[in-house]
């Protein structure tokens, strides 16, 4: 780690830890921002590094959300009675129950989507290009519809996640608790992917993106790497879902859990905005996207989607490679790339 590196990571860490005190009113929004970073980062594992445009990653987000809330409730109370609409009884978690359930739920919300990714991945990752994209899109939509039909998890009624236990700390404690969990998840995802991209694993993903047949011909079991990549995405996404379900407090099958039309699209958009296939791109993209979005929602009430649409058009026209791609083109030397001026001249003269 170079000195500059340490300064930057130190700064982000300090900013991340201090943010709830610097902007006390915006804790929730910044928590959401960290989760969006996780969404963009995990999408980029497929979409950017591996060259597989997945539109179904929201599947793991939703599964994580339901698993976490389901475990939190199911460990102590009958889940069916909790979700039943006309239920007469009110269940209340004690603080110990709440935190026990929450942490076990959170761990499972990473593991279960990972297993699902492994099972589905084996069948789906054999598809390439648009076939893979369409197939995953279908998975995401189907998951929402199926979840909307399962009575145990509330079906179309949705499901409330357990409320923060009463008489424990102030109201602020809850949002701080979730804020730091979101920040920690974001940091863990980032550091893990940073490490993974430096290893052989990262190189194989890039090889798959650049020429999968050639990679296979060189003796790489591409399928194993593709599945592993998907499992990694699914685990982190699942935990993000578990956190989101608890923060929002209400899980709706198609609008919150398997929200293909919002989070499912946002994760792709953010990665492309920042520059897909780079480590920092999704991070920058997610932060910029979130700030723009919140700004539009405040100032262009009623026209927010039009403004957002205009933003997307601008991105596609002026920054087709994303913010990182644009920077890379302008300042190639800062990215450790050397430009051979004489070579460029020679090419121009040839024409």
């Amino acid at each position: 780690m170079t000195k500059n590196n340490r300064i930057i990571y130190g700064l982000i860490l300090i900013l991340g830890i201090a943010a709830p005190f610097l902007f006390p009113g915006f804790k929730l929004q910044i928590s959401f921002m960290w989760l969006l970073v996780v969404l963009a980062l995990t999408w980029d594992v497929q979409g950017g590094q591996m060259g597989y445009n997945s539109f179904g990653n929201i599947l793991f987000f939703g599964i994580g959300m339901y698993v976490c809330a389901g475990v939190q409730i199911g460990m102590f109370f009958p889940l069916a009675e909790w979700t039943a609409s006309g239920g007469e009884e009110t269940f209340v978690h004690t603080p110990t129950q709440y935190f026990q359930g929450f942490f076990i739920g959170l761990i499972l919300s990473g593991i279960v989507p990972g297993i699902v990714a492994a099972l589905i991945g084996y069948g789906v990752l054999g598809l390439r290009g648009q076939y893979f994209a369409i197939c995953t899109l279908g998975l995401g939509i189907a998951a929402g519809e199926i979840a909307g039909g399962i009575e145990l998890i509330g079906a179309g009624q949705g499901m409330t996640s357990p409320p923060w236990p009463k008489n424990i700390g102030s109201l602020e404690l809850r949002s701080q608790f979730f804020y730091y969990l979101c920040f920690a998840l974001m940091a863990a995802t980032f550091l893990f992917l940073k490490y993974a991209y430096q290893t052989r694993f990262g190189l194989v993903l890039n090889a798959i993106r650049d020429n999968e047949d050639k990679a296979e011909a060189m003796g790489i079991h591409t399928m194993r790497y593709k599945i592993t990549g998907w499992i990694v995405s699914a685990c982190f996404l699942g935990v993000a879902g578990g956190l989101m379900g608890n923060m929002v407090g209400y899980i709706e099958p198609v609008e919150i859990a398997f929200a293909g039309a919002t989070f499912g699209v946002f994760m792709v958009l953010m990665a492309i905005l920042g520059g897909k296939g780079t480590l920092w791109g999704p991070v920058i993209g997610a932060i910029a996207f979130h700030i723009f979005k919140e700004g539009f929602w405040t100032f262009f009430l009623g026209w927010q989607y039009v403004a957002l649409g205009a933003l997307i058009v601008i991105i596609v026209v002026f920054f087709p490679e994303g913010i990182m791609g644009w920077l890379r083109e302008r300042y190639p030397d800062k990215f450790g790339e050397t430009v051979d001026e004489s070579d460029i001249k020679a090419q121009v003269e040839l024409k």
Partner: protein, 411 residues
Amino acid sequence: MSQYKIKLISMIAFVLMIGLGFTGSPYAADDTIVLGAAVSLSGKYSTAGKHTKNGYELAVKRINSMGGVKVGGKSYQFKVTYYDDESNSGRAAQLAERLIKQDGVQYMLGPYSSGLTKAIAPITEENKIPMVEANGASRSLFTKGYKYLFAVLSAANQYLEVAIDLAVEKNGGKPVKIAMAFEQDAFSQDVRLGILDAAKRTGSKIIIDDKLPKELNDMSATLAKVKAVRPDVLVVSGHSKGALTAVRQISEMKVNVPMLAMTHCDSSSLSKQHGKKAEYALCAAQWHKSLSYSDKFFDTASTFDKDFNAEYGYAPPYQAAESAAALLVWKDAFERANSLDKEKVRDALAKTDMQTFYGNIKFNQQGQNIAKPMVLFQVRCTGDSCENKVVAPTKWASSKLVHPVPKWSER
């Protein structure tokens, strides 16, 4: 790692601070009481969301112009801070948090639809912010032990139970065959539970029980089944879009069914949009202009209808009426509490017992309004102009129920 990243990071940090800095605003000036509301101005509930907002606005204007709210010898004006929740529960929950945490709102008005109210209620509850909501009817809202939630409307399961009773009565007291189709959302699924209860009570049989998708544009599969099995009652509920889709396709496919019972006929202005095709549809409503309730702000139900029409250019559906009533409840509670302290106001809300143009309002332990019955009306046409006529309960009935619905070949 090089300098560009330092620049980049500092740039991001800067943008972040500006971006987050511009949203805050103080919540209450000296003489205003600010209420927060996230309503659907876009998305699938945008029509009903607009009715909700217009209802709120009209009541705010009326109360302010008639002297405002008197608390502690001082007169306050109501002001509502709106956000657009895009008919999305995730967004609604975020906005509720934002209204409370960033905008410092202390009192909330509800959004449109049960699903969105369910998304907001955990947040208002956690922050101990009282919310008077006018558009969340799902029974599940009232079984969670919420203490800060007050609903001025009747619960969703009561919407169409009466229709089943009517069908049984018309069938000579014998059980009927019911076909039903409901949207996959909190409200419609609750209406379904009500029908299940009614079917059980009357011994009726349910022969079709379909779930419809959220963006309800097609239900021809259900209607094809209805044509084949000939039920006595067809029940459909899926907000405004569901009502419009149902009537459009029933008339296109010429489905003959003795009784068609629905929800959301007036918020979708069914009788205007589909005219004679919608005739004889039976609809559940929270309110109707012919009811005989009154208060000093809007006078009677029919004057509310006139005033609303003059202001917004269309007849108020019950969503607008109940939304307006929510403001009257707030005013009453503030004045009885004689304080702006949210706990005191909550206690005053819990003791509400009043009459408004919209109906009587009295909350039970769970915050549900138990003082007001539902009404059923039927779309009736004379010539080409169609109107909603109340057929039940008998106290306000202005016309007799036409049963069975004439066949399409005879219309």
